[in-house]
């Protein structure tokens, strides 16, 4: 079965691109060039063809190329080949609509929801910003995990959003009590805590399921020459699911939140629940937590997780996510880099790699490739293995 792949990308007034048409008839696409030539913008555009806010987590107003009167309306469109044939996904500013909105089109028709896209495409990325993943707060690690879960279960994002929504409403009611000294309606609070329990347990169960399956895949040596990583989910709700069925865990959460209203009102926040989950990484050969590893080892651990994840998604859903690896190869030593290229060659997934130094991609040279200089752009794009003669790349 052919892997899910992006065969053509068209951009209009997106970030640094007034216009672009690029064809990718291959599995590994390398974009090499100096900093600031638009390599990450290209990956970001690809990441926006799936659900979510893309690999920078940016706001919609940041996407448009800046014209004299602010950001221009922008559009990104991709043609994909997947297990069920060809399809087109487009996204951008609605025609004649407000610049802060973003709409999706699937095969030319308006997509009803982002879940429609999640059924067709998935993308997972590693970016230089994620080097801080092991130092920063739990929120970034939780979002990293949620994106991995999302690629496996298209409904996960909705569960997390519904949980966050219900929790925000509970916090608002409790804050009203503090401000106005008026006790909020207990039946209303109970109704919100019920929604939190249902959506929170669903989200925690999905995270727990993915961590378990990823660990099994990593133990099975799926990552080849990469150091095996072990993931641990630190979440009281997920731990409770080890001991009791989901419905009992939901009941326990409802009772717990009902009992903690006074404490949470005083704190101005809900202090317990799946929104407090954290993801731990362990370097298995050294049995060291990732926070204590070197930067290069941390990068290798993340690569191991992403490769194992891609293989898992492929087994489960029949297509692997697109891998967007921004400046990843540069951080690896030469043997690991070769291991990465070997692993990418073996995976049934399409990968996009960027780097400033074309020389680091030298091990891919044995493959038949096509490459094209990009007029007006100081980077080159190389596509491996090349199934079609070089398609022109147009840059405006």
């Amino acid at each position: 079965m052919p892997p899910l792949s992006l065969t053509r990308l068209m951009l209009r007034d997106f970030r640094s691109y007034p216009a672009l048409t690029a064809g990718f008839h291959g599995r590994i696409v390398v974009v090499a060039g100096e900093n600031g030539v638009g390599k990450t913008n290209l990956l970001e555009a690809i990441s926006l063809l799936g659900p979510g806010r893309g690999l920078r987590g940016a706001r919609i107003l940041e996407f448009g190329l800046h014209g004299p009167e602010g950001p221009l309306p922008w559009a990104a469109a991709g043609r994909f080949r997947g297990p069920s044939g060809e399809f087109d996904i487009g996204t951008g500013t609605p025609e004649g609509g407000p610049a802060e909105r973003r709409v999706f089109r699937l095969d030319g028709q308006p997509a009803k929801s982002q879940a429609d896209l999640a059924e067709r495409v998935a993308a997972v990325w590693l970016t230089p910003q994620m080097d801080r993943l092991f130092q920063d707060g739990a929120g970034d690690r939780r979002r990293f995990l949620d994106r991995l879960v999302w690629a496996l279960e298209p409904h996960h994002a909705r569960e997390v959003a519904a949980y966050d929504n219900a929790m925000a409403q509970r916090n608002r009611l409790l804050a009203g009590e503090r401000r106005e000294g008026r006790a909020p309606d207990p039946a209303w609070l109970a109704a919100l805590e019920d929604a939190m329990a249902r959506h929170g347990v669903a989200a925690a169960a999905a995270r727990r399921g993915l961590v378990g399956r990823l660990n099994a895949a990593l133990e099975g040596g799926i990552t080849g020459a990469f150091p095996a990583a072990r993931l641990s989910l630190h979440c009281a709700v997920a731990a409770a699911l080890d001991q009791a069925p989901a419905l009992a865990v939901e009941d326990g959460l409802r009772a717990g939140w009902a009992a903690e209203r006074g404490r949470d009102a005083a704190a101005g926040a809900t202090l317990s629940g799946p929104h407090r989950a954290d993801l731990g990484f362990t370097h298995v050969p050294k049995s060291l937590p990732a926070a204590l590893c070197s930067t290069g080892e941390q990068k290798a651990l993340l690569v191991a997780v992403v490769l194992a994840h891609a293989a898992l998604i492929e087994q489960t859903r029949g297509f692997a996510p697109l891998l967007l690896l921004d400046e990843v190869a540069a951080h690896l030593d030469a043997p690991r880099r070769e291991a990465l290229f070997g692993a990418l060659a073996a995976l049934p997934a399409q990968a996009f790699l960027t780097g400033t130094d074309p020389a680091i991609f030298a091990p891919l040279r044995g493959w038949r490739r096509c490459s094209a200089p990009c007029p007006g752009r100081s980077f080159r794009m190389a596509i491996f293995p090349c199934r079609k003669p070089p398609e022109s790349l147009y840059y405006g």
Partner: protein, 198 residues
């Protein structure tokens, strides 16, 4: 644009209506102006009549020329079953689907702490009062499958508990985030038929 130009004024009013943009409003006005006697004066009269006659039903909150409304007056309907809906649009959608043979209760929204809509802003007390009068054998909660819809349904279930009336909810099949008035009639009828106790 000339000030108080009657044509522009009319287009402006029509363009504010849901489903009509400025472009469709202009087309509609142009068509009407071709035959003002046949197309405009009857419309003006119909608008005047509807504005004067239609009001909110004091029992269920429906909009109708009679109060109580035609549904509440209909002796052939099952007065023991009340279907609670978010708004009149959902009531009309269920009527179009011929899915419900009982009465309705329009809440006027759903609970939203973030939107500042609390129980006192909704027709919750009137619902409890209707049930306290007796004769109600089942309350069906036909609320949207959103967080706010589910929260409202949970809240009402809690408040209805002391009355001892069985409460049911629409079956799955109403997609999460789905507004009832955009669902097709078959889906609505199936969801209502397969309702479950809460």
């Amino acid at each position: 644009m000339i000030e108080h130009d009657p044509v522009e004024h009319l287009i402006g009013l029509l363009a504010k209506l849901p489903g009509l943009g400025r472009r469709s409003a202009r087309r509609a006005v142009l068509r009407m102006l071709m035959q003002p006697e046949q197309a405009m004066l009857p419309l003006a009269a119909a608008l005047r009549d509807a504005a004067a006659a239609v009001r909110r039903c004091r029992l269920c909150g429906n909009l109708d020329a009679r109060d109580p409304c035609g549904i509440c007056r209909d002796p052939n309907r099952d007065h023991g079953v009340i279907c609670v809906v978010e708004g009149v649009a959902e009531l009309w959608a269920l009527e179009r689907a011929h899915a419900h043979r009982g009465l309705y209760h329009v809440l006027g929204g759903t609970l939203s702490a973030l939107g500042g809509i609390g129980p006192e802003d909704l027709a919750v007390q009137p619902l409890l009062a209707r049930i306290a009068e007796g004769g109600v054998e089942e309350v069906i909660l036909a609320l949207p499958a959103t967080v706010d819809g589910a929260t409202t349904a949970h809240y009402l279930t809690d408040r209805l508990k002391p009355a001892g009336v069985p409460v049911t909810r629409l079956a799955q099949g109403v997609p999460m985030g789905g507004a009832l008035d955009v669902l097709d009639e078959g889906t609505l009828a199936a969801a209502l038929k397969a309702r479950r106790a809460v």
